[in-house]
């Protein structure tokens, strides 16, 4: 597993280096912003699924083309409910991520991209018994993701996104979120593009 992580990192770095100078003029860095929002459904690994069940949630992200691929800042939130017969306190799971995706060749109005992401998941426990300072925990997450979208009129798009996320708790959790919704693209305001560069 460790060797694989290092290997994937090297490959990505190499790809980034090679691809840095092969950019289409219509995808200049930070030239456009795409805002996406949608509904979120999640499944978890079987060990975790025996004690908690995720409810439907929501996801949102803002992405922009980069020199290589595109970057996105994303947030996902859902409530996890303790399961019978001994239900544990519910918690809200909020995930903040930095995503990097590499678009695949376009096929008409269809767009697809695959990538990796890393970030943190905050657990907000609905537990009034423990001290307030212990009701929240934050943990690292990383994983892979894929997105498919179709362009719609007036700069809108519809998307579906799948992820596989590893939450690095002492006993790890694996989450596979699936989200779908609408996106809207716009030219990046000059001041913001100036800031990002």
């Amino acid at each position: 597993m460790k060797v694989r992580i290092v290997g994937v990192t090297c490959i990505l770095a190499s790809l980034a280096t090679q691809g840095a100078y092969a950019q289409a003029p219509d995808t200049l860095p930070f030239s456009r912003l795409t805002i996406r929002a949608g509904a979120l459904w999640q499944t978890t690994d079987s060990r975790f699924a025996r004690i908690y069940s995720p409810s439907a949630g929501y996801s949102a992200e803002i992405s922009a083309p980069f020199n290589v691929g595109e970057f996105a800042l994303a947030v996902e939130r859902a409530t996890f409910t303790g399961l019978a017969p001994t239900p544990h306190p519910d918690f809200h799971g909020t995930v903040g991520m930095l995503k990097w995706r590499m678009p695949l060749p376009k096929l008409g109005p269809f767009i697809a991209a695959v990538g990796v992401h890393a970030g943190a998941m905050q657990f907000s426990f609905q537990d009034t018994v423990v001290a307030p300072g212990l009701r929240k925990e934050m943990e690292e997450v990383f994983g892979v993701n894929a997105m498919a979208a179709v362009r719609l009129p007036a700069n809108f798009s519809a998307f579906a996104m799948g992820e596989y996320t590893h939450v690095r708790l002492h006993v790890p959790i694996h989450i596979a979120p699936l989200s779908a919704g609408l996106g809207y693209s716009l030219n990046t305001p000059g001041w913001l593009r100036d800031f990002l560069q």
Partner: protein, 636 residues
């Protein structure tokens, strides 16, 4: 030289700094390890303490990550050595700043924050540094110069360690909660005019001490009443002016650190509030035609007071230091001759004595820099120290540098330096901790040969081999053994060490930058069997390699590997005849830095210990898992 100081961002400037210093580094003996601005940025170091991570071969030991002790020469770690043994020293812009408190280095109380640092030079072994005899090593910090007009920088970093229990806290799979790391923050604002500049800064750090391996050493009811983090806050002021043919500078600070401090000799923590007030001046001026006069003088007060807790408090003390050097240099033909004097005075106040106890030492110094032909330079230093009532002793070092060809240089150096407990205040820790110092002081001798060569236009390499002998190093003895019942001189040891250090690094402005550094120091002759178990507390091997790439503008990706050998600590064993062990560290870090707003904003995402291997730096210390840090730096 980076960040706010030059136009488009610190990535580009960092490369320049890296390149220039790397070229200089080719001419330096490998005894020196140089940590540059770019190294600091890509490693994500936001505390001065963390920069010790770049000093390959300096065996650092820390219980909580906040404060550390370091052995640059493989001599036994703090807690395995007697408390009167000499330590390495810290120099900031030429001024000596006392940081040692019971063998722990209080580097967060220094009058400089990470954002103000241009480079740090680590020198190991006995030497004479600026006329000052140094027995074990020097950490010399150089601040960077600001660009004209208003300038400033603000950095905030936060991190978290993986391995929390999460929702499994309610199940049989529950585990202890682990640490938040930080926040670490530092900022400074200043003005630079044509011939003067002024700068005010502040650095803050907070680190939890709730790791299970720390907390489990206390009864639960006691630990819950202790401060759960170690926090330090240090405001600083610096001003400089170009006048009298040189640059004159004044630095002042008042730092404070609160929380548990591990006292190595006692093998336990005490809850204290340490404050250090410091003011120092340094500079040079031209007098009597071609004579250059250099000076530095400083005064400091390091105060250790009780911080309310259920723990016993026995180490309260106030130690004051006044010291300085003055020297005059004159060119005689192609040679340069320097003569001067050095002196230090220490005063201790503690509840155990009425009034105060003081010591002092100092003496004349001389240095000759003699070029021979076009490719050879002899650098000789000698200092005669009158150390309190102990009489005079002569310390000396000599280095011969040979330029073998345009790309290759050879340096042969030798030195002999004795410890000066009265001049350096080494006796203070022993006095406060009620240990009787031995009658003889340690003496250090070293011989080293280094070769530096530049291969191709882009690669430089340095190889050094060195031998060092120490006489009369004091061990600590068994923890249960009443020190006053044994003769301190019976714990003295002699030993010899043989080491090699290799550094290979890229030079210039290529897309890929990297370095590889390996150090191995082995004991080959230890005078008696009692010394070997103490020396085993420092690792034999240390390796650090880094690789970074800037594949596109304003983005830098870096990977850093650090491998350090394991160690065994006989004084920290839980049963007689055994040793507590610290496993080898095998760590890989990765960072991504992005500059925005035309170089005014730098964001960094950093992962440490990606392999999630056991990472500990002390037998009683915390164990660190994979962790992430996010930091932002705003540059004016």
């Amino acid at each position: 030289m980076t960040g706010r100081r030059v136009g488009r961002g610190s990535r580009v400037a960092g490369r320049l700094s890296l390149s220039l210093l790397a070229l200089v580094g080719v001419r330096l003996p490998a005894q020196k390890v140089v940590v540059r601005r770019a190294d600091i940025e890509r490693a994500g170091w936001n505390r001065v303490t963390e920069i010790l991570g770049g000093a390959v071969g300096w065996a650092s030991a820390s219980v909580d990550g906040s404060t550390l002790a370091s052995s640059p020469d493989r001599l036994p770690a703090a807690g395995e050595s007697g408390p009167s043994m000499p330590q390495w020293i810290v120099i900031v812009n030429g001024q000596r700043v006392p940081t040692d408190l019971f063998g722990m280095q209080m580097l967060e109380l220094l009058p400089v924050s990470v954002g103000q640092i241009d480079s740090v030079v680590f020198m190991r072994g006995p030497t004479i540094y600026g006329g000052r005899p140094v027995t074990r090593g020097v950490m010399s910090i150089f601040s960077r110069s600001a660009h004209p007009g208003v300038n400033g920088e603000l950095t905030y970093q936060h991190g978290d360690e993986s391995g929390d229990p999460g929702p499994y806290r309610y199940t049989d799979l529950s585990s202890p909660n682990v640490e938040k790391i930080g926040p670490f923050a530092h900022g400074d604002v200043g003005w630079r005019g044509r011939s003067w500049d002024v700068d005010a800064g502040l650095h803050i750090a907070s680190l939890n001490i709730t790791d299970t391996l720390i907390a489990s050493r206390f009864p639960g009811a006691v630990f819950s009443q202790l401060r759960q983090d170690v926090v330090s806050i240090t405001p600083t002021v610096r001003a400089g002016v170009d006048a009298l043919g040189g640059r004159q500078e004044v630095i002042a600070s008042r730092g404070e650190q609160r929380g548990l401090l591990f006292i190595p000799t006692q093998r336990a923590e005490q809850s204290l509030r340490a404050t250090e007030s410091y003011i120092g001046v340094d500079g040079s001026l031209v007098a009597a035609g071609s004579t250059t006069v250099a000076y530095d003088a400083s005064t400091s007060m390091l105060d250790a007071n009780e911080l309310d807790s259920p723990l016993p408090f026995t180490v309260g003390n106030t130690r004051r230091h006044v010291g300085g050097t003055v020297s005059a240099s004159r060119d005689i033909g192609r040679s340069t001759l320097t003569v001067g004097a050095i002196g230090d005075r220490w005063t201790l106040e503690t509840d155990a004595i009425a009034g105060s106890k003081s010591s002092s030492g100092g003496g004349p110094l001389v240095r000759a820099l003699v070029p021979i032909g076009v490719s050879t330079t002899i650098d000789g230093n000698a200092t005669m120290i009158f150390d309190g009532s102990r009489g005079a002793s002569l310390d000396a070092s000599v280095a011969a540098s040979f330029r073998l060809d345009p790309a290759t240089s050879l340096v042969i150096r030798g030195s002999r330096v004795q410890a000066h407990p009265n001049m350096n205040g080494d006796w203070i820790d022993a006095f406060v901790l009620r240990y009787e110092p031995p009658s003889r002081v340690p003496e250090f001798s070293s011989l080293g040969v280094s070769v530096a060569r530049q291969f191709l236009p882009y690669v430089g390499a340095t190889v050094e081999v060195r031998a060092e002998h120490v006489a009369d190093w004091a061990g600590l003895g068994r923890p249960s053994e009443p020190q006053r019942a044994s003769t301190p001189d019976s714990l003295l040891h002699d030993g010899s060490f043989l080491g090699a250090h290799v550094r290979v690094e890229t030079l210039g402005l290529s897309t890929w930058q990297g370095s590889f550094e390996y150090d191995r120091t082995a004991a080959f002759s230890l005078g008696d069997r009692g010394f070997a178990p103490e020396v085993a507390s420092t690792p034999v091997d240390d390796l650090r390699a880094q690789l970074s790439a800037s594949p596109i503008r304003d983005l830098r990706l870096s990977a850093i590997a650090a491998f350090t050998g394991g160690s065994r600590w006989s004084a920290f064993a839980t049963s007689a005849g055994t040793s507590a062990s610290v496993p080898p560290v095998r760590r890989i870090d990765a960072s991504m830095e992005k500059w925005m707003w035309h170089g005014r904003l730098r964001l960094e995402l950093l992962y440490r210990n990606l392999l999630n291997e056991p990472e500990r730096y002390h037998p009683f210390g915390a164990q660190w898992n994979l962790r992430w840090h996010v930091s932002g730096t705003l540059i004016l």
